[in-house]
Amino acid sequence: MSDQDIASAVGEELYRIAPDIDLEDIVRDADLQEEFDIDSMDFLNLVTALGKRFQIDMPEADYDEMRSFDALVEYISDKTA
């Protein structure tokens, strides 16, 4: 799966949580929770959804590698490679 496919999938899951935020308007390497104005419950729901969608393990110990949109896409890309 290409990084672009992953990015659009992540975008879809984020849209479920934050439909008012346009992916075009965010800074992709800035803090994800800040950019999308999401709280820890939203983030947990995002990780739950992405873990299921890509069938990957996303342990809490790895959260620091998922702090921005770009980082999250890269993390999933590495895990699904």
Partner: protein
């Protein structure tokens, strides 16, 4: 129409989930009503058979008006189902508003009595509601005949100012009443969260995301446990009397994006194991953000817990949600210099505050209550 909070005076029936003749059980969701806070599911409180709906879809009625007739098991068939005309107001453009101040004496005309100019089209209630939400002026529509939901939907969506202002009005009413009636006092206490944070990390290490804990669940349980020893912060102040509650129905302040804030209850928080409480919190937050509540969740909370989360500030000074008598606020946890075992070290900590009703409690007990929350958070494995 049940009361779904101290500030609610009327609601609109928007969904009937059972048909006349259907059996219903206590706890079943039988309808949804639209209030200032969004769509709320209505539970039934007895077993029986739903005999008849007494209010039409789209009809706005004051709190207290019967929505349906339910025949209890073994009860004789009720012969006279409509002993009095329901005090209902059809949501029609010719109707004005429910007289909120005197809901028991409606002075509104009946639908039949309201003249409708011949050239004005009929608008279905669902269409009217959507139009109101989307800021569409019905007078500008040139459609002949009946305007239905699909006609309005076809006009496309515009920004929706209505839900936001309704929620703002609800918050305004409750908070104004609080500041008018409740003599608040405030206390704060810095709580070391290293133990709680380590417990969450350890617990979550080998768990799937759907089973993971958040610190918020630990706060909720710690507050609920502390209340067992300090029950004067748990209950409602009604008719100049404090009615203490045995169960802790913990109102959880939940932010809804671009809409506002509600604080529905987590029921019996003191008796739920941590994992169950976490599941209940996830379910509640998801439903509330999706716009669906249960009636009791809005009316039965006995105290409120509000947490600023990861991206807030150090400390908050809560406004009590009447008729409750206390609100506990958790500031954003961050690394702070703290003297621990004689040395200054960086430790994860958060400022925890209490706003409480001076008619019911004093600062001395309030301080002990906050310290009890602290004590429980130092032993997370016992939560």
């Amino acid at each position: 129409m049940p009361s779904l909070g101290a500030d609610m005076e009327a609601g609109t029936l928007i969904e009937k989930l059972v048909h006349p003749g259907d059996p219903v059980k206590r706890g079943d969701i039988i309808a949804a009503v639209e209030t200032q806070k969004g769509a709320i599911e209505i539970e039934v409180f007895e077993d029986g058979v739903l005999q008849e709906w007494l209010v039409d879809l789209g009809t706005k009625v004051p709190v207290g008006v019967p929505l349906a007739m339910i025949k209890a098991e073994g009860e004789a068939e009720t012969a006279d189902l409509s002993p009095e005309p329901p005090k209902a107001i059809v949501a029609d453009e010719d109707m004005i508003v429910v007289d909120y101040q005197t809901p028991t004496k409606p002075v509104l005309p009946t639908p039949a009595a309201s003249p409708r100019p011949a050239d004005r089209p009929r608008v279905t209630p669902a269409a009217r509601r959507l139009a109101a939400q989307q800021g569409i002026d019905l007078a500008t529509l040139s459609t002949q005949g009946t305007i239905s939901l699909s006609d309005i939907a076809a006009l496309g969506t515009k920004p929706k100012p209505a839900p936001m202002s309704d929620m703002r009005a609800a918050i305004s009413a409750a908070m104004s009443r609080s500041k008018r009636e409740i003599p608040h006092y405030y206390l704060s206490h810095l709580i070391d969260l290293e133990a709680a944070d380590a417990f969450v990390k350890t617990t979550n290490a080998d768990r799937e995301p759907q089973d993971r804990l958040l610190l918020g669940a630990l706060y909720a349980k710690a507050v609920a446990k502390a209340l067992k020893k300090y029950p004067e912060f748990n209950g409602n102040f009604i008719d100049d009397t404090f009615q203490q509650s045995d169960a802790v129905h913990l109102g959880l302040a939940i932010n809804i994006r671009n809409v506002g804030l509600v604080a529905p209850a987590l029921f019996d928080a003191e008796n739920q194991p941590l994992d169950d409480l976490m599941s209940a919190m996830r379910d509640l937050v998801e439903r509330v953000r999706g716009g669906r509540f249960r009636a009791r969740e809005l009316s039965d909370a006995t105290i409120t817990l509000t947490s600023l989360g990861d991206r807030g500030v150090d400390e908050l000074f809560g406004v009590i949600y009447p008729p409750q008598v206390a609100i506990v606020g958790i500031g954003t946890p961050r690394q702070q210099p703290i003297i621990h075992n004689g040395d200054v070290t960086a430790r994860l900590s958060a400022m925890v505050t209490l706003a409480a009703d001076h008619r019911v409690s004093d600062g001395h007990r309030g301080a002990l209550f906050l310290k009890a929350i602290d004590k429980h958070l130092q032993k997370p494995e016992a939560l």
